[in-house]
């Protein structure tokens, strides 16, 4: 999987995201975001499938974009361990942050062929302004489909 910082504000692309068939979850498909750094800030995410011929994804691209997959949000607690008042244990180290977005409603309609797909994420703060993508550190993206 290759990450491409597009130069477009708030847009980061991932090429070769594995599309794994035969998952045991009930929902049709999930986009997994694994190993997110807790140094990131809380933000709004929007995921798109990159398909040749579709318009480029911009930070302001909405649900009407033909490649739209799902909305999500990162709400982070810090990794710890942190200091604590007397009498309390230190807050535990929580490790990296994992999350998943339900993409079932759109992925089926787009029906991407092949074992991998290309995905774009837009990153916006709560006011809708693009977020600097360089601070968005992630270990792995994957789509699992039932």
């Amino acid at each position: 999987m290759d990450r491409i910082d597009t130069g477009r504000a708030g847009v980061v692309e991932f090429r070769g995201v594995p599309l794994v068939e035969g998952a045991d979850h009930t929902t049709g498909a999930y986009l997994h975001l694994s190993g997110l750094s807790r140094e990131s800030d809380s933000m709004l995410l929007r995921a798109f499938l990159l398909v040749p011929g579709f318009p480029a994804v911009e930070a302001g691209s909405g649900q009407e974009h033909p490649g739209y997959l799902a909305d999500g949000a990162v709400y982070l607690s810090p990794s710890g361990p942190g200091d604590a008042p007397p009498g309390l244990p230190a807050a535990p180290d929580q490790g990296d942050y994992d999350m998943r977005l339900n993409v079932a409603r759109r992925l089926g309609a787009l029906a991407p062929p092949g074992p991998t797909v290309d995905v774009a994420l837009t990153l916006r703060d709560p006011t809708g302004s693009p977020v600097d993508t360089s601070g968005f550190q992630i270990g792995r993206l994957e789509i699992t489909r039932r």
């Binding site: 999930y30 710890g80 361990p81 942190g82 200091d83 535990p92 929580q94 999350m99």
Partner: protein, 437 residues
């Protein structure tokens, strides 16, 4: 952790402006904050309790993006609820406190917005207008809060929220609906955390940060998450479905006798539950009669105008030999059959396929689920044909299909894999219910 009574946590929207429970909520938050004004590190005070989530130093006890998200926050809400009840016992009396529980804010309903109880800047306290403690609370800890890099919230700024308009929480109910159908705890937890995250970020202000717990809306938001966890448990949540690492996790820093997550799974031992309207329609004795029919009609009891979730449940379903497709409709005037279109106009609800087990591949008795084999006698996995339960979430289609009046019907037909109608005897089950929460 034993409590004197098991009391339902209620939807905050059912509490009128002048309801005694809402007044007690406001007064208890005020009293907790008064304790913090005297001593900010008093563990009975609002600042301390809010600080547990993320206010003490650079770390945070709260669990997000981990397998402990749901169980840790359940313990956290209980800690808050008990501290509110302690104040209510002083404001009113012990009996009143024993009947009070945190309400929840259901942001999964269409056009959800912030509850009025949290957006009014003042409230009427017996003819006197007072600042509404649910609108905003101070942040009095010494640590700085960054809203995003370079944007510092003044540590002394009271909690605030961004603009919330109808549509702010659109689409989240669908995500919760799908999550509730997940069988694996980890999948459900991850799936329901995304709409939880979106409520934090879309609400704005302090709710975006991990100091969100200083905003009183936090408590009813997370009570709604706990409500969803409870709903999932009603269908899937036997203790065997939780990974051992989740059960053994210690929910720090709470001062309960047992802080392992396993101690927080049964809400009844914690003194609360949530309200469910359950409509039993059949019993075992009625089944032989039903089996001769091609359409089963389930008559529900009164269903409230506003509800969060609707589910059709089939209990103790016996594995069919061949595949069966169950098709459900609501409030039909005429009987449904295989030719009835599956459209909203025909009040179609949902299809659910049940796979058949096929012919027995073993010697005689291999596929006979005897009582001992069904349970596994505690030593081995239950028999592969042990009866099972089916729960089908139909909230959206149920809302759309219901006709006027308090009582409703749900009808079910059975089809084969080619769409041909089958008698209901194709699928044996002990009972059918419609559950509305």
């Amino acid at each position: 952790m034993a409590s004197t009574a098991v009391v339902s946590r209620e939807n905050i929207e059912t509490w009128a402006d002048d309801s005694p429970k809402l007044r007690l909520f406001r007064r208890a938050v005020e009293e907790m904050q008064k304790l913090s004004q005297i001593a900010v590190m008093d563990s009975r005070g609002y600042q301390w309790v809010a600080g547990v989530h993320g206010g003490f130093g650079n770390g945070a006890f709260c669990q997000h993006g981990t397998a402990h998200f749901l169980t840790w926050h359940r313990a956290y809400l209980l800690d808050m609820e008990l501290k509110l009840r302690a104040r209510i016992a002083e404001i009113a009396d012990v009996e009143t406190a024993n009947e009070w529980r945190l309400p929840y804010w259901d942001w999964t309903v269409p056009n959800a917005t912030l509850p009025k109880a949290f957006t009014d800047e003042t409230y009427d306290d017996g003819g006197t207008q007072r600042p509404n403690p649910l609108f905003s609370q101070p942040y009095q800890l010494s640590q700085q809060i960054f809203l995003r890099p370079g944007v510092l919230l003044n540590p002394q700024t009271p909690t605030w929220r961004g603009p919330v308009v109808p549509g702010t929480y659109a689409g989240l109910g669908d995500l919760v609906e799908d999550a509730l159908d997940e069988v694996q705890f980890g999948t459900f937890s991850d799936a329901v955390e995304n709409p939880h995250n979106q409520v934090h970020v879309r609400t704005g202000g302090h709710m975006v940060t991990f100091r969100s717990s200083f905003d009183p809306i936090f408590w009813v938001h997370h009570a709604n998450i706990d409500f969803q966890f409870w709903q999932w448990q009603q269908r899937q949540g036997g203790i065997g479905t939780f990974p051992q690492a989740v059960l053994d996790f210690e929910c720090q820093p709470f001062q309960f006798a047992d802080i392992r997550a396993s101690a927080f799974l049964d809400t009844r031992t914690l003194g609360y539950t949530y309200t469910t309207v359950r409509s039993p329609v059949l019993d075992r004795e009625a089944m032989p009669e039903v089996e001769e029919q091609t359409e089963l009609t389930i008559r529900t009891g009164p269903i409230p105008d506003e509800f969060s979730r609707a589910r059709i449940n089939l209990h103790n379903v016996h594995h069919p030999e061949g595949p069966v497709v169950l098709r459900f409709f609501a409030d039909r005037d005429a009987p449904a059959d295989a030719s009835t279109p599956t459209t909203a106009a025909e009040r179609f609800l949902v299809d659910r396929a049940v796979l058949g087990h096929g012919p027995c591949p073993g010697a005689p008795g291999h596929c006979d689920p005897t009582p001992l084999a069904i349970t596994g006698a505690g030593l081995r996995a239950p028999h592969h044909l042990a009866p099972f339960d089916i729960g089908i979430t139909v909230t959206r289609s149920f809302r759309a299909a219901l006709g006027p009046g308090p009582g409703h019907t749900v009808s079910m037909i059975a089809l084969d894999e080619d769409g041909g109608q089958m008698p209901l005897s194709a699928l044996r089950f002990d009972n059918a219910t419609v559950t509305v929460t």
